[in-house]
């Protein structure tokens, strides 16, 4: 009888925890994945701190420097008003463009000097067509749920997500050439918020 009572209580606590955190099967799987690669991860989960940190991250991800290459359609966005990219280059299957309209035909490995010239990075591309990783139009909650989902985030586990913020193309958001304002947080503040969001449990904000 006592054992039965304990099982019921444990189940109730587990279910309540999942409902309040908004966790999904996908979240559970990403955490499982990271546990496999980082058995020594002892950072404590904190839903309030994690979701709060993501709201900071969200400000950066929705800035033109990040969102312009995560469009809802297949044409990248351009400028601080995020208009459709002039010349209408298309995503293509691998995210690198089509035919004579491939990203790196104009976007060089480094920024081209001068105003209104193409910014550059060796990895310049959109996400591929089979996983578009759209930012445009997403709420903070939707974007957090998407990014923590291994099947929607470019197949990144927790460790790979942490590393992704250190990627050269992500860092390039703060060095996009003349006349392009940086995202609203400094890179180091973004990194701190990103790591906090992940380390404290990848919680999605309520909205």
């Amino acid at each position: 009888m006592h054992a039965k009572f304990l099982i019921v209580i444990t189940a109730l606590i587990t279910v309540t925890g999942f409902i309040t955190s908004g966790f999904t099967i996908n979240e559970a799987s990403i955490n499982d994945e990271s546990k496999k690669t980082h058995p020594d991860n002892t950072v404590k989960s904190d839903s309030a701190a994690s979701a709060k940190a993501f709201l900071q991250v969200y400000k950066v991800l929705m800035s033109p420097r990040c969102m312009n290459c995560h469009p809802a359609g297949d044409i990248p966005l351009q400028g601080d008003d995020s208009h459709l990219h002039t010349m209408s280059p298309k995503r293509g299957k691998d995210g690198h463009g089509l035919y004579a309209m491939k990203c790196t035909n104009c976007h060089q490995p480094t920024n081209t000097p001068g105003m209104h010239t193409p910014p550059g990075n060796p990895k310049w591309a959109l996400p591929p067509s089979d996983m578009k990783m759209v930012f445009q139009g997403k709420t903070a909650r939707q974007l957090a749920l998407q990014i923590r989902d291994y099947n929607q985030n470019g197949h990144k586990n927790k460790q790979q997500l942490l590393e992704h913020a250190r990627d050269t193309l992500v860092k390039a958001g703060w060095n996009m050439g003349e006349g392009r304002p940086a995202p609203p947080l400094s890179y180091s503040a973004f990194l701190k918020a990103w790591d906090t969001w992940i380390d404290k449990g990848l919680y999605a904000p309520v909205k």
Partner: protein, 154 residues
């Protein structure tokens, strides 16, 4: 010194590595078929092939082309007989002609990757090549004709 392979020929050029490839082609190697249009990768007049890709030579530093294969309009075919060049002549595509080298170089990448393009494929490939004379419809028609010639081995 920078070593360039242009139209299968090797050149040694003594230039600043940051010099745009366009100016090395035109001013140092005297290949003037490639044109300067906007200088900021917006118009397509300066398109050449870098390892088969249709790069804009006005923003491509010569250092990126070092040791790579560059093809300009002068090297697209041995005797101006690439199907696109033949179709361009057949349909009298150019008006002033200034943008046409870039147009043909972009179209050549399209036909290599898609031998039977639809109108939409042509739009997708050619949107970045501007023609102030507005020869777009003849360009589209000529690409279809060149595709047909290419399929027939002409």
């Amino acid at each position: 010194m920078i070593t360039l392979n242009i139209n299968t020929k090797n050149y040694e050029v003594d230039v600043d590595p940051n010099t745009p490839l366009l100016w090395v082609l035109r001013d140092h190697i005297n290949l003037v078929g490639t044109k300067y249009g906007c200088g900021v990768a917006q118009c397509g007049a300066c398109v050449v092939h870098l390892n088969g890709d249709a790069v804009r030579s006005c923003v491509t530093k010569v250092s990126r082309a070092a040791g790579q294969q560059v093809v300009t309009i002068e090297g697209l075919s041995a005797s101006n007989d690439h199907p696109l060049q033949k179709a361009w002549m057949e349909l009298d595509v150019p008006q002033c002609g200034y943008c046409q080298a870039g147009q043909i170089m972009s179209a050549a990448v399209l036909l290599r990757e898609n031998p039977n393009p639809t109108d939409e494929d042509i739009d997708n490939a050619m949107e970045g090549n501007i023609c102030r004379c507005g020869t777009y419809l003849r360009i589209q028609k000529a690409i279809h004709l060149a595709a047909e010639m290419q399929r027939k081995g002409q």
